[in-house]
């Protein structure tokens, strides 16, 4: 089994890289209505961050982005999409938390069946993506260390 995995990995090293387009999946918005992730693509580059109420580094990252957001907006046009992967158990807590953390400027969506998480190949949260105005995934990063939000800003600036 290990050998198969190893071989597969080795094979993919040879492929060339190109931008991946964001998959179209049904998620819920703040009001609980079903929306398509395709609707998020509106010409504005975005940071898409997967989080959950039990993931502390996720919340730290979203708070850090929030702290810097107005400074960043002075330089680039962008938006932030916070994708909660909380299930039925913590979904209502997640909705409350987006308000209680002051994430008013974020587009908050809820992926309670984790369809978007699976489609974006997220294994561990936090996992953050940068998607350009046309819906191409141009960068992704997993994990959070204080200060790594700066890298996201650099990448989004480079899109101009």
């Amino acid at each position: 089994m290990k050998k198969i995995m190893f071989l597969m990995l080795a094979l993919f090293v040879g492929f060339s890289a190109s931008a991946q387009s964001m998959p179209d999946v049904k998620v819920e918005n703040q009001e609980g209505k079903v929306i398509s992730t395709r609707d998020l693509v509106d010409g504005t580059p975005m940071i898409i961050s997967f989080w959950s109420t039990t993931c502390k580094p996720c919340i730290m990252e979203l708070n850090a982005i929030n702290d810097n957001l107005y400074d960043w907006l002075e330089e680039v046009d962008m938006k932030v999409v916070a994708v909660s992967v909380d299930d039925a158990r913590t979904l209502s807590r997640a909705r409350a938390m987006t308000q209680g953390q002051g994430w008013d400027d974020y587009t908050c969506i809820y992926d309670k069946n984790q369809d978007f998480k699976r489609a974006m190949n997220v294994s561990l949260t936090p996992h953050t993506f940068i998607v350009d105005g046309k819906g191409n995934v141009v960068y992704s990063h997993s994990g959070y260390t204080p200060g790594s939000e700066q890298e996201l800003f650099e990448k989004i600036k480079a899109l101009k």
Binding site: K2, V13, S16
Partner: protein, 565 residues
């Protein structure tokens, strides 16, 4: 060790991949994406754990190595997608429930899942492994949780159609997965949701009603279980839901019931189950409050009814514990696991408030308080009637303060009262614990930061007091290093719990105050992440998404890898 080295070589290969393929692979017009997750442990001898009989209690686990690995490959072309996933347990990590279902002589096991899917504007079809849930998942939830090695995907077909946003109808059928086998018990279901507000042309809020039906068939159900009162091969379940949202106020309610008698605990009599779940919420600007009430009576549904205990993987529906899941180790040391007899009533309330400075965005206070309480219901144990009683109460308060660009502090207080007697003995035995946590993050500069965390647990009973501390040094965005220790610092001489070595001849107990230490580092590059740690792990409960598994004590090296592109 050889396997561990092999895993390490995969790290190197993964890094090369991450370096090379920053985004993904084009295959014709479509695109291929790949995700790999690997979690491996090399188990070491630990004299101290051995002395107190905690090490390798499970004689089924003989080797020194365990590895849970997941490789997922997807192909996407417009509205079409297809994919495969390999779950490989080489062998499974020590303490995972999947052991319960494996052949005694087999060490390793693997399982393939696959799907093809068409996702159109208003409709979609999926064949293969299906992950879905109806409402809160009280009737049905098929999902994957790798932290528990749980996956009950349904191999079959699913289709849905959305009519003008007014109505959505979904049907599905398939055979659920139980650990590493595909069961022969078909499960089928239908879900209808009607948006009343859309029909009425009211767009200021949301009003919707929903209903679900789920069926399960087991050919040998009556033969195996007639003594326990099962009288049908087929189990039928229904649920109804109402959702309402207007001007910051939300209400969601669900009632679910089983129409046939069902057995969910080996040894217990079959009966009809039911559940009520109500969520209420209100938010205004940066203040929000949410409350949940839930009553469940014999509503747990197994994939397969059996006379044997098949542990946590044998589940078709989702009834998680609703208490707060803590991220600090001592606050989550002895979490609420729900009533094992599956009869409970209770609820929880959360209040959030964020106090923000309009001029300085980087300065704020975040407050959060949470209360929950659960009681067991009157229920029959053999010929006895056990009266319902309180089995859990907790109150948590935490405040987070961002002082300026470089300093952030968090303080948490948690009070927890639990019935340590597993809720099903005639008398309760309460243990009260008070947990205090302080956490400081200091950003030295744009890249370097330091985090320190101190915790204390004061308890009147059980294992007594605990103390814990963590120091973490981060170099953004790539490196992180940490050291932590958790110490059971109080001897409970007369208690029945705690860790001790028993002298057979004298009956004397030598208490051992154990340190549970961890040292680790993580490396992140784009979507590649590797974490290597070494330490001693406490025997305890590991929860993910409100579902828990028992984790035996062990000492060893752990390597966790994730990669996607």
């Amino acid at each position: 060790m050889k396997k561990f080295l092999l895993t390490l070589s995969i790290v190197v290969a993964s890094m090369l991949v991450a370096e090379e393929a920053s985004a993904q692979i084009k295959a014709g017009e479509g695109q291929v994406s790949i995700a790999l997750e690997s979690n491996s442990t090399y188990y070491m001898e630990d004299k101290k754990l051995e002395d107190i009989g905690l090490y390798r209690k499970d004689d089924r686990f003989k080797g020194n190595f365990g590895s849970n690995d997941f490789l997922k490959v997807d192909y996407n072309l417009g509205r079409f997608s297809a994919g495969v996933q390999i779950d490989a347990y080489l062998p499974p990590l020590y303490g995972y429930d999947i052991y319960e279902n494996m052949q005694r002589d087999s060490k390793c096991t693997a399982f393939f899942t696959k799907y093809v899917q068409w996702e159109d504007q208003n409709w979609g079809v999926r064949l293969g492994d299906i992950y879905d849930q109806f409402g809160n998942g009280i009737l049905l939830r098929t999902y994957e949780d790798r932290a528990l090695a749980f996956n009950n995907s349904l191999a079959g077909a699913r289709a849905y159609y959305n009519f003008n946003n007014y109505a959505t109808v979904k049907v599905l059928a398939g055979l659920p997965r139980l650990y590493d086998v595909r069961t022969k018990n078909p499960v089928w279901g239908a879900d209808l949701s009607l948006s009343i507000s859309d029909m009425a042309g009211w767009y200021d809020g949301v009003v919707s009603v929903e209903g679900s039906y789920v069926g399960r068939y087991q050919a040998n159900a009556i033969e195996t279980m007639s003594r326990r009162g099962i009288d049908s091969k087929c189990l039928n379940m229904v649920s109804g839901r109402v959702n309402f949202e207007y001007a910051g106020f939300t209400m969601r309610g669900e009632y679910a019931t089983k129409l046939n008698k069902d057995s969910y605990i080996p040894g217990a009599m079959a009966r009809k189950g039911n559940a009520v779940h109500i969520d209420l919420g209100y938010s205004y600007k940066r203040f929000s409050v949410t409350a949940t009430f839930r009553r469940i009576e014999a509503m747990t549904t197994n994939i397969m009814i059996s006379t044997e205990n098949m542990a946590g993987g044998n589940l078709l529906n989702y009834l998680p514990v609703l208490t707060r899941q803590h991220t600090y180790s001592l606050a989550g040391l002895n979490p609420f696991m729900g009533s094992p007899s599956n009869n409970e009533v209770g609820g929880q309330v959360d209040v959030y408030y964020s106090l923000r400075n309009k001029k300085a965005r980087g300065k704020y206070w975040n407050f959060h308080a949470n209360f929950s309480m659960f009681n067991s219901l009157d229920h029959k144990m053999g010929n006895d009637i056990r009266e319902g009683r309180n089995i859990w109460i907790d109150f948590n308060f935490d405040v987070e303060r961002q002082w300026n660009k470089s300093v952030k502090t968090t303080f948490l207080y948690s009070y927890q009262r639990r019935d340590t007697d597993q809720y099903d003995t005639p008398f309760a035995h309460y243990c009260d614990a008070h947990i205090f946590v302080g956490d400081v993050t200091y950003k030295i500069n744009k890249k370097h930061s330091l985090r320190f965390e101190a915790q204390y647990l004061a308890a009147n009973d059980y294992e007594g007091d605990w103390v814990a501390a963590t120091i973490e040094y981060n170099i953004a965005p790539m490196f992180s290093f940490y050291v932590s220790d958790m110490w059971n610092c109080e001897k409970m001489q007369d208690g029945m719990y705690g860790n001790y070595k028993l002298h057979q001849s004298t009956g004397k107990r030598d208490y051992e105050l154990l340190h549970y230490y961890q040292i680790g580092t993580s490396f992140t590059y784009k979507s590649f992440r590797a974490q290597l740690s070494y330490g001693r792990n406490r025997e305890g409960i590991v929860c993910s998404g409100g579902v828990c598994r028992k984790q035996p004590a062990f000492t060893g090296f752990n390597l966790a890898l994730t990669l996607s592109f």
